[in-house]
Amino acid sequence: MIKIKNLHANVEETEILKGIDLEVNAGEIHAIMGPNGSGKSTLANVLAGHESYEVTEGEIIFNGKNIVEMEPDVRAREGLFLAFQYPIEIPGVSNSVFLNTAINEIRKHNGEEEISAKDFLNRIKEKAKILGMDSSLISRSVNQGFSGGEKKRNEILQLLTLNPKLAILDETDSGLDIDALKIVSHGVNNFKNKNNAVILVTHYQRLLDYIVPDFVHVLYKGKIVKSGDKNLALELEARGYDWIIKEQTELV
């Protein structure tokens, strides 16, 4: 699905990612964990093509293509999706218009016809139901006046509606209470199948109780310093990040 090789990236001349190697195959869920400032969100944004980050070295091979130079909208049409840590409000643009535009751009890219109004509405209603959202929200402006939890839920609604190949979730669990966390996790599990993949970027283990990862990676100072299975997350929960940091220091 996606193969990241020796990825280096800068923000305003400061190197944040210092050589990341990661391979995610179809059917897998990978969790990227790490202390604050380790580069987790940077990695998520670089994968989605944020223009504030400059890739200085390395490759991102997504479905056989190096996407490093690809515009963010083209990456999305190729099947990459980023759920934002802080979703943006777009007053005056309804969820319906927003999602309809996005779906049709993706369909056009894949040589498919535009979605009919009826199919579109049915799809939104079906997905909203999974997330316990009132379908009247589709006529409301994107995220405008939504609470933090509603915004996160709306990200997952977009994920389910656009149905990408790879979903990157950037701290989707932050600011969620336990009920909202369950609903959001339910949505992600509903999305997941053997043909797609998920990268979860998270600081805490608690999300992984609901979305069980196949692999857990620890990012520290812009590098993946440890990988393991879901038990690694439990160990981090119990012992914190300090022991890994210490291990790193000893290695140096």
Binding site: E71, D73, A76, F84, I90, V97, F98
Partner: protein
């Protein structure tokens, strides 16, 4: 002779011709104005209120006062200008002259008058004199030029306790048969006590037409009235547009003014309101969209003359290419106007490095128990939001359109007529040559 004197002589010569062929109630008024016009001055950049706007391109042209023409308007189609799916009282003017044939004035509430200024000047001369602005010596040449040729415009009178249910749509169409018309509407709205109306004043002209629109509008809003006046300026790209609107509000009235500015090469709008009673609400909204080498200047003046009133002003603009915007918002709070609430905000987005805006908020407060705030910001479209929208597969072009819509939304959403909101949104994207979604 200076350029300014040349052009003044040109208009005064035209006035002589005009005066010979007209004989009506307004003759004395016009003659008085003509004398004052002769002694007046066109504003220059040396005057503080005009320092950001160079009007000399207007003075380089010899425009011909439109009442001196007869226009053939048989084949004029106005369908494209109508507001889709909205039932209105339609009042059509062609080059400032009322066109009864194209207008649609049916089922007007009894006592309400929606008519042309010219015809009412014959019937309701006294009323017109009472409410028309006085010709003070300090008026500039543009204002006096309008008075010199006072002829037609719209006239709206709403008697006590009347609600005008349907919006009134005034359509000002400009046509130019290579004769460079000077179009000078003289408009008057009188809303008596406890009345309500929505008035849309639209200016249209085909791109490539060269003309000069110089408007005066007087609006009187009496006690407990609720009046909305929405100006939609979509003139030709080669037109010049100068507008002076004076509003007088009495106690417990609500007035909403919208200046939505799209067309014209040089635009100057002066909007002056006097809050002359207690418990008044006054909202001034503005939207200016400029591209190419457009110059769009808004000067607003809110005079808080009495206590316990609120004014709220929100002006937003999007400027592309080499367009230039000017916003000057003055708020005066009189010594006796305690408990005044006055808010002003001006925000502009520059889409190119060559676009610019001069913003000048001015607060003059002589009372001590007031709440006043003002702010002006200039920036670019929000980059994080741009990334967010594109990260869903939406093209760069459509993402920018969405951000433009998001930016202007808090002005457009205040237009409480949904069909008009749609028309405005459509006009925005058409004007910015942006993809509509």
């Amino acid at each position: 002779m200076s350029k300014e004197n040349n052009i003044k002589s040109w208009y005064l010569d035209n006035f002589q011709k005009f005066d010979k062929v007209t004989n009506d109630n307004l003759k004395n008024l016009r003659n008085d104005a003509a004398v004052k016009f002769g002694n007046s001055e066109f504003p220059t950049k040396k005057i503080e209120d005009w320092k950001y706007t160079n009007i000399s391109p207007i003075l380089n042209n010899e425009f011909v006062p439109s009442p001196l023409f007869k226009y053939e308007v048989n084949n004029l189609s106005i369908e494209k200008y109508k507001i889709p799916n909205l039932d209105v009282h339609l009042v059509v003017f062609v080059n400032g002259i009322f066109n009864k044939g194209l207008s649609e004035l049916n089922d007007i509430e009894s006592g309400v008058i929606i008519d042309s200024f010219l015809s009412q000047s014959k019937i309701n001369h006294e009323l017109i004199s009472k409410y028309s602005s006085k010709l003070e010596i300090s008026l500039n040449s543009f204002t006096l030029l309008n008075h010199t040729f006072t002829y037609d415009g719209f006239f709206i009178y709403i008697p006590k306790n009347k609600i005008v249910e349907k919006p009134i749509h005034i359509l000002n169409i400009a046509i130019d048969n290579n004769d460079k018309p000077l179009i000078q509407p003289r408009n008057l709205i009188i809303a008596e006590e406890n009345t309500k109306a929505n008035i849309v004043s639209e200016f249209v002209g085909n791109d490539g037409s060269e003309y000069f629109t110089n408007v005066i509008t007087d609006i009187s809003v009496s006690e407990n009235s609720n009046i909305s006046f929405i100006k939609l300026q979509n003139e030709s790209n080669l037109a010049y547009h100068i507008d002076k609107t004076d509003i007088h509000q009495s106690g417990s009235s609500v007035f909403n003014h919208f200046s939505l500015s799209f067309g014209s090469k040089i635009v100057r709008n002066d909007i002056n309101t006097k809050l002359d009673g207690e418990n008044i609400e006054c909202h001034l909204y503005g939207l200016y969209l400029g591209n190419k080498d457009q110059h769009i200047d808004h000067h607003t003046f809110i005079n808080h003359a009495k206590p316990n009133c609120m004014s709220n002003e929100l002006y937003k603009g999007i400027l592309d290419d080499k367009a230039k915007g000017v916003f000057s918002g003055k708020i005066l709070v009189d010594q006796i106007a305690q408990k005044t609430n006055a808010f002003q905000s001006n925000k502009s987005v520059l889409l190119s490095n060559d676009a610019s805006i001069d913003a000048k908020p001015q607060l003059e407060i002589y009372a001590d128990d007031v709440k006043c705030s003002h702010g002006a910001t200039v920036g670019k479209l929000d980059e994080q939001a741009y990334f967010y929208i594109r990260s869903r597969g939406v093209s760069a072009e459509a993402a920018r359109s969405m951000l433009i819509r998001a930016f202007i939304n808090d002005v457009v959403s205040e237009i409480k007529i949904e069909q008009l909101q749609e028309k405005v949104n459509h006009t925005i994207f058409e004007h910015l040559h942006r993809e509509e979604f």
